[in-house]
């Protein structure tokens, strides 16, 4: 079982003590697990990560998971890192970083130099969300082709129009088809099907 790890509050306090003036906040998690996460500002992200990895009490040497999240509401992109320690067999610590906005201020420092396991996952976040990781050794699209222009995992992404044959179209599909074929979704499609 997991040996006890310091609580995120303690870690935040130690980080603040180590990097005075860094933007580090605690993000609460209302789910039953209720483990809060640490949100670190872009300016100190790399240093904080190195600290978390090398600190003797933490030794978070294993970055398991890198997730991108799009928040159109507050208007930023978020990258979430799940950190564990293989040496001390504890974890996770959830580390978050946020971009300035979703349009032009989308860069964050890359953590690939700290944890090699971020290499492909950060590329994936770059590919699907458009977060630019500075200092990433090989930042190319991972999953989509190089010529692709959009960031498909963003919430406002519009799919290309290829819904020609939708015999069971409804709900989400219909909404997509309506976006693409306004004629079909018009309130009174001229040649209405035989529905009575």
């Amino acid at each position: 079982m997991n040996p006890a790890m310091e609580t995120p509050e303690q870690i935040r306090d130690r980080l603040l003590a180590r990097f005075p003036g860094a933007e580090i906040s605690l993000v609460p998690n209302p789910a039953p697990g209720a483990q809060p996460s640490l949100c670190v500002g872009a300016a100190h992200l790399r240093e904080a990560a190195v600290f978390l990895r090398d600190d003797d009490a933490l030794r978070l040497d294993y970055c398991s998971n890198v997730t991108g999240i799009d928040w159109p509401k507050p208007g930023h992109l978020e990258v979430v890192y799940h950190l564990y320690s293989m040496a001390l067999r504890h974890g996770p610590l959830v580390l978050r970083a946020r971009t300035g906005n979703r349009a032009d201020l989308v860069s964050l420092p890359s953590l690939t130099p700290v944890w090699r396991s971020c290499e492909f996952q950060e590329r994936e976040v770059f590919d699907l969300y458009g977060v630019v990781f500075e200092g990433h050794p090989d930042l190319r699209r991972l999953l989509m082709w190089d010529e692709f222009k959009d960031f498909p995992m963003r919430k406002d992404y519009v799919e290309p129009p290829d819904y020609e044959w939708e015999p069971t179209a409804h709900d989400a599909v219909a909404a997509k088809a309506a976006l693409q074929h306004p004629a079909a979704a018009a309130p009174s499609p001229a040649p209405s099907p035989e529905k009575t």
């Binding site: 129009p161 819904y163 020609e164 044959w165 015999p167 069971t168 179209a169 409804h170 709900d171 989400a172 599909v173 693409q180 074929h181 004629a183 079909a184 499609p189 001229a190 040649p191 209405s192 099907p193 035989e194 529905k195 009575t196």
Partner: protein, 236 residues
């Protein structure tokens, strides 16, 4: 080392070569079109609609077009349109029925969620898998007529399930009948003419023993689901 490992491996294959002539464990092939593996009861491929009566499949669909399966279907391959009118179901109760019930089996992922969420035991999983076809568009879109199969077929492919379902339905119907009877008795006792029993919840249709009111009810002619007629393409 020195080739002993190679020889050991050769012995294994030799054993299998010899074994294939006498040991069924070492000749495991089922020669498919002639021999068939016995499909387990739980095996599922595509959904079908249960009808109570093989004689009148369209009139006795259990489905009441509640559209839960349509909403829950992960790949959204079910398309239902409710009827505008009501029709007597197998138990004689007036129900909405699916005027259109299509399943696109070129999309269906055989996940069985429609079966799990159906409160009426109206949709079940079929076991037919020999449906290779050269017909892309119409061959893979099953309509209500193609989907409906009698309860006896359900018994045939999933005997345990079917018995359980039948038992449950019978119990529900019995309970509903008793409730209805009690309500009717109470109503009669009150002799209040204006309060007819409200439409019972869908879960409690009248007893199955009631004679199918095929004649009593002004039945709508069973709508034979027509093949989807073409309409001009709305898209570019």
């Amino acid at each position: 080392m020195l080739g002993t490992g190679l020889i050991k491996g050769l012995m294994v294959t030799a054993k299998n070569l010899a074994g294939s002539f006498h040991d069924p464990e070492r000749l495991v092939t089922t020669e498919y079109p002639e021999q068939r593996t016995v499909l387990p009861q739980n095996y599922r491929n595509f959904p079908f609609l249960v009808t109570e009566n093989a004689e009148d499949p369209m009139g006795t669909l259990r489905c009441v077009a509640c559209q839960i399966c349509e909403k829950e279907c992960p790949p959204q391959c079910i398309y239902i349109e409710k009827s505008k009118d009501k029709k007597a179901d197998a138990a004689g109760k007036m129900q909405i029925y699916p005027a259109v019930f299509d399943i696109d089996i070129s999309v269906c992922m055989s996940c069985q969620i429609c079966v799990e969420v159906c409160p009426f035991d109206a949709i079940k999983m079929d076991q037919v898998f020999e449906i290779a076809t050269a017909d892309r568009f119409t061959g893979l879109l099953l309509d209500r007529g193609q989907l409906s199969k009698p309860n006896s077929y359900f018994h045939q492919i999933h005997p345990t399930d079917a018995a359980e379902v039948d038992g449950r339905l019978a119990a529900e119907r019995k309970a509903a009948a008793e409730k209805a009877k009690a309500a009717a008795a109470a109503a009669a006792a009150k002799a209040a003419a204006s309060t007819a029993s409200a439409p019972s919840p869908v879960k409690a249709p009248p007893p199955v023993s009631a004679p199918p009111p095929a004649t009593a009810v002004p039945a709508i002619p069973p709508p034979v689901s027509p093949p989807p007629p073409p309409s001009p393409p709305p898209q570019p």
